[in-house]
């Protein structure tokens, strides 16, 4: 669980605790650093339907905490180090999946950490990083504009938005909703051109051609040598880290870093001729479409992503004017219209 302080290092947790009524006055919850036994703060639990509010000061350095519970045996109205009996776990022991080892833990981002992470993340926008650098600085600074992208405002987003790694990055209202913006890279922008030259683009064309080969063969009537097909719609999921990996230090895939895995939707037309009973040669293709995704970070996604996720965590409570939108999650969209593109590939079915 990733969260930020409201100011300084003071962490505020709200916990629902199921406890037997007769013993409730003696049951306390507290917080401790993972791997340590010192209770940093504790409070008597409330009834199950009434949230128990726990506060403690996060330790210097970036630490990870866990919530513990126990019985106040000595009656000193607090949970002592040796009284903590239970460590809060949301998932059954041993079932934590890879990449989710922080699921049961509390990660606190303090005000100072938010500020330093924000500067670090904004600093990733250096020469050579193109639109990937523009996006990450825009995220860190809360910029309402991005080079080569148009901005749409007042887009709905919710704390349980599909693909949102942590429910942070918005100032959620009681219904867990917020408004954000969308940056659109239109056709002919560098990002769009990168996509049109990508392996993912080629793979989609090949797949749609093969999937519709029988229809294409059947529709070819020979009235013109190069027939133009009807548009075929597609909806393909592509992970750019798989389709367009980096072959060289000199051939960095900005597309991969900026967009990751996306669902690409659109239409393809083929200019083709039948060259055998079950064979066509495609002379050129036209692909028009778009993809859209959320721009957010996972704490477990590597050192740089971790820094960015800490900025995201601090958005609601720590981002202040003139960068009040720092760490706000947003949507990014890429549109493409390849025009008629030379293809010259043959597709055949056995």
């Amino acid at each position: 669980m990733l969260m930020a302080s409201r100011t300084g290092v003071r962490a505020h947790l709200a916990i629902k605790v199921d406890s037997p009524e007769g013993l409730r006055d003696k049951i306390y919850v507290g917080a401790q650093k993972v791997g340590a036994t010192t209770i940093l703060g504790s409070v008597k639990v409330n009834a199950p339907n009434d949230k128990t509010k726990l506060e403690f000061d996060a330790l210097p350095g970036h630490e990870i905490y866990e919530v513990v519970a126990g019985y106040d045996q000595n009656g000193n109205a607090s949970l002592d180090n040796d009284e903590a009996q239970i460590i809060f776990k949301k998932t059954p022991a041993g079932s934590a999946t890879s990449g989710l080892q922080y699921l049961d833990k509390i990660i606190i981002v303090t005000e100072n950490q938010f500020g330093s992470s924000k500067d670090t993340v904004a600093g990733y926008n250096v020469w050579g990083t193109g639109y990937a650098g523009d996006l990450i600085e825009g995220f860190a600074r809360g910029s309402g504009t991005i080079t080569n992208a148009t901005t749409s405002n007042n887009i709905d987003i919710s704390a349980n938005e599909p693909g949102l790694s942590h429910p942070v990055g918005g100032r959620w209202n009681p219904g867990c909703k917020d408004k954000t913006y969308r940056f659109t890279f239109a056709d002919a922008t560098p990002a769009s051109n990168d996509f049109e030259g990508s392996n993912a683009f080629e793979q989609i064309v090949d797949k749609v051609a093969r999937d519709n080969l029988a229809a294409l063969v059947s529709a070819y009537d020979g009235s013109v040598e190069w027939a133009v097909s009807s548009p075929y719609t597609f909806d393909e999921s592509k992970d750019f880290s798989v389709s367009d990996p980096d072959f060289l230090p000199f051939c960095i895939s900005k597309l991969k870093n900026a967009f990751g895995k996306v669902d690409i939707k659109g239409t393809i037309r083929f200019s083709y001729k039948k060259t055998g009973p079950n064979t066509i040669t495609v002379g050129s293709v036209e692909m028009i479409g778009h993809f859209e995704d959320l721009y957010d970070f996972a704490y477990s996604g590597g050192p740089e992503a971790r820094q960015a996720s800490m900025v995201q965590a601090g958005h609601a409570t720590l981002a202040k004017a003139p960068e009040a939108n720092a760490g706000k999650v947003f949507f990014k969209r890429l549109e493409f219209n390849s025009g008629w593109k030379n293809w010259n590939r043959t597709y055949t079915s056995p």
Partner: protein, 286 residues
Amino acid sequence: MKYIPILLTVILNLLLGNIYAVEGLDEKLLKLEIARLLEYPPNRLLIEDITKQSRDQNLKSQRPIAIEAKVVFRLESKEGDFYPMTIAVSSLGIPMLEEIEQATKTETGKLATPPFGKKLLHQVKLTNDGYAYIIPLVGPGGSQTLVLARMPSMNMDVAISIITGRGKMDSLKGNVPSETEAYHHLISEGGERLTERLIKCAEAIIAKVTQTSPPSVQQTPVQPIPPSASSVVSEDNSTPSLESSDPRPSPAVKAEPSKSTPWPWIIGAILLVAIAGGILLKLRCK
């Protein structure tokens, strides 16, 4: 037609003697060295020569490195828990990202004014006339760090790209074998310590290629550096030093810029003879 600019670039570099000849670079020893610097068990590393794939890929994008790069390979682990690292060695200045090339083209030690909204590259001075440039590329889809060590006096660029995170796709965390914990700690910690190791890796490669002692990294960066990770190189005593007494023999490396070969002179002489012949022929015709 589209390959003509590349071919012209290569021919020009042949004439100017700028093609770096790297032959016999012992990849196994280099792997050992890099594994040591990155604290990864070398016996679990795979080395893959991707020169051909890289050339194909770059021919497609019309990048001169398609023909020019001499050593391009990747390090990966057998189990897939090593974030792949790609290494390329080439002659100076040819194989760059356009934007980085623009930034590094200016006078030694001075960078061009960056375009609006972009910051200077992170630059660290090496000894001799070398510089290392550090370029992070970060997004939700993953992140990587590119270190480019540029050695003008040796007419050489060494570029290392390492993937430091796979973004939301990350599948390694929480499943790290104990013998590779140090490596994963290095990667997950990121920042200066990782950058320092990567620069040392680049220096190790330079040393292997040139059979000279690797230059050490100076403590003070020459540029005002943004307060981000991976900007200042500092000494880390826990790092096995390159200068430590390594009983392994030096690799058999035959590496020299083709400036020392007579080809440019031969081609120049042929051109001169041809021009002189043409003039004489013209005079006789008159």
